[in-house]
């Protein structure tokens, strides 16, 4: 199976055509073609339009649900907003607590001895398994979903920060200490800048996990808004249009969060501070 593919793969760049158009087509061509096929099949009745509604219908659902005619009005933006608030709150918590714990573990012996075993017994628990317990502890409200997001993201943050500190050059401390820097100064002037790029990497990985956990937690534990709640609620009313609309939004938002937003941030910080290679 491999021989022909490999042979034809080499001299691809010879063919002409405007590079920009080719590039755009190469990036989105398959998605567009698949959507067109899907639309066609749905219109011609080849597939079950109840289970696979046409893409145009899904887009129309997103459009109407985003406007004042939605049920409730402006439903989509509300769902997205609520999900984002929960995600941000959980990630902010994870960043703060994760940074503190990570620095402690990286810098002090007692914290390493104390927290490492505890982390290693809590980390293998699937995040969502905590949901029912949290539901009992806090009730059905935002706290449950926020804590689930926090748990999903915090281990990744701790891990990357500990790794970042281990990569640091000890001489940096010696220099700072010998010049009479206090502990607080060392923390803010030496450690934080040094681990910042790692923090961003941890943030990116953690956000990926957190986004997955959030959607599932919202399906289990949200009572009113949120994308996860929206699609689960829609499954009870069998409105597949809304479910697909939700999946599209979840995919696009997840992509934007992980690759575009934080990817940019990561690129910017690596450019500015230059990680890995030097320290």
């Amino acid at each position: 199976m491999s021989t022909t593919d490999l042979a034809s793969a080499k001299p691809l760049s010879v063919a002409g055509a405007t590079p920009l158009l080719r590039n755009i087509f190469a990036r989105f061509g398959v998605i567009v073609v698949l959507l067109a096929l899907w639309e066609l099949a749905a219109r011609l009745g080849w597939i079950n339009t109840f289970l696979f509604p046409a893409p145009s219908n899904i887009a129309a659902t997103i459009w109407t649900q985003s406007g004042p005619d939605g049920n409730p009005p402006y439903a989509m933006p509300m769902h997205v907003l609520r999900s984002m608030i929960r995600l941000l709150a959980g990630i902010a918590l994870a960043l703060i607590i994760g940074t503190v714990l990570g620095v402690l573990i990286g810098m002090t012996r007692w914290a390493r001895m104390l927290f490492q075993p505890l982390i290693s017994i809590f980390m293998p628990v699937p995040t969502l398994a905590w949901t029912p317990v949290l539901l009992l502890l806090t009730g059905i409200d935002d706290r449950t979903t926020i804590i689930v997001v926090f748990i999903a993201a915090v281990f990744e943050v701790i891990y990357t920060i500990v790794a970042g500190i281990e990569m640091m050059n000890v001489k940096l401390f010696w220099v700072a200490r010998s010049m009479g820097a206090s502990r607080l100064q060392i923390f803010f002037r030496v450690i934080i800048p040094a681990i910042f790029p790692y923090l961003i990497t941890g943030l990116r990985l953690g956000t990926g996990y957190a986004w997955r956990a959030l959607i599932a937690a919202e399906m289990l534990a949200a009572s009113s808004f949120g994308l996860g709640f929206m699609i689960y609620d829609a499954s009870e009313y069998m409105s597949t249009n809304v479910i697909y609309a939700g999946i599209v939004l979840i995919a696009v938002l997840g992509y934007l969060l992980e690759n575009v937003l934080i990817g940019r941030l990561e690129a910017a910080t690596t450019e500015k501070w230059g990680v890995q290679s030097e320290r």
């Binding site: 998605i31 398994a129 029912p132 891990y159 499954s235 597949t240 939700g246 979840i250």
Partner: protein, 285 residues
């Protein structure tokens, strides 16, 4: 990860002192865990925490023993839950491998197909598998098909992605050399592609199984009709039976660890570490 890095103990030559220092390392590792459990137990016993919301570890152990029912005449409920969960996760994982590995090899080998499909993949990769649950629920209702379908999607993308990366990582030169020596497609696959892609493939399998297991919990909570650990935990919520929930959580964590370290760790040691031993870090990953 940090978890596996046990406290640093310098390797010593003498057998007795080495085992003694390992014992010390183990003791220092277990100390905080034991302290936490004692603190927890004490808090509940002294009435500082509500035992119906936060049961003491001893109560959880008692509940686990009760659920395990090792001496009773009837079947063991806990083992049934575990068995059903394992069956679902494994079925989904095997199905995912059967589809994802061949597809991964095809996409890894054909640059055109990879370039065409990679936007689609990068859109679907970060999509949580659980998000498909409502569609499966509408199509198939609650039950095994929905759960296995969702876990299949959870395991599929990590395996596919790692396979593609593994195959693409193989140098073209290795393929040219072997082909110029007159190797057929089968030889090429067996001698170059498979061993070359194996490190990435195995880490992909590990990731896929982990995803399958983690997705399973959510899927079982949403869609299970009778058995399964996720179902057990979620059903216990209706009876405010927090001890059962903790039993389920501990089982999920322990089984997850066993799958990752006992099964895939051994697999890695048997294959990747043996073949690519030069320059690779052993033990700690």
């Amino acid at each position: 990860m940090i978890a596996t890095r046990t406290p640093d103990v310098p390797p010593q030559a003498g057998g007795a002192s080495a085992s003694a220092s390992r014992l010390v390392a183990f003791a220092t590792f277990m100390l905080p865990i034991g302290a936490l459990l004692l603190l927890w137990e004490g808090t509940v016993r002294l009435g500082l925490a509500d035992a119906t919301i936060l049961p003491a570890p001893s109560m959880i152990v008692a509940r686990a023993w009760e659920l395990l029912n090792p001496v009773g005449s009837q079947h063991s409920l806990l083992l049934m839950h575990i068995g059903v969960s394992l069956w679902r996760a494994l079925a989904a994982f095997v199905l995912a491998c059967l589809v994802a590995i061949p597809l991964g090899f095809a996409l890894g080998l054909s640059k055109g197909a990879y370039r065409a499909l990679s936007p689609l993949l990068s859109l679907l990769l970060p999509l949580p598998a659980v998000a498909w649950t409502p569609i499966f629920l509408v199509a198939f209702g609650q039950g095994d098909i929905t759960i296995i379908g969702v876990c299949f999607l959870g395991a599929f993308f990590p395996v596919l992605y790692s396979t593609i990366q593994g195959v693409r990582g193989i140098g073209v030169h290795a393929i040219w050399v072997v082909r110029s020596m007159g190797a057929g497609p089968m030889d090429l696959f067996r001698r170059v592609l498979l061993p070359g892609a194996l490190p990435a493939l195995i880490s992909g399998l590990k990731l896929g199984m982990a995803h399958s297991w983690r997705t399973l919990v959510a899927a079982e909570m949403l869609a299970a009709l009778s058995y399964g650990l996720g179902y057990m935990i979620f059903a216990a919520r209706s009876y405010m039976d927090v001890s059962t929930m903790f039993v389920g959580i501990v089982c999920l964590a322990v089984i997850g660890l066993l799958i990752e370290h006992a099964i895939f760790g051994t697999l890695e040691r048997m294959t990747v570490a043996r073949w690519h031993s030069s320059g690779k870090v052993r033990g700690a990953r």
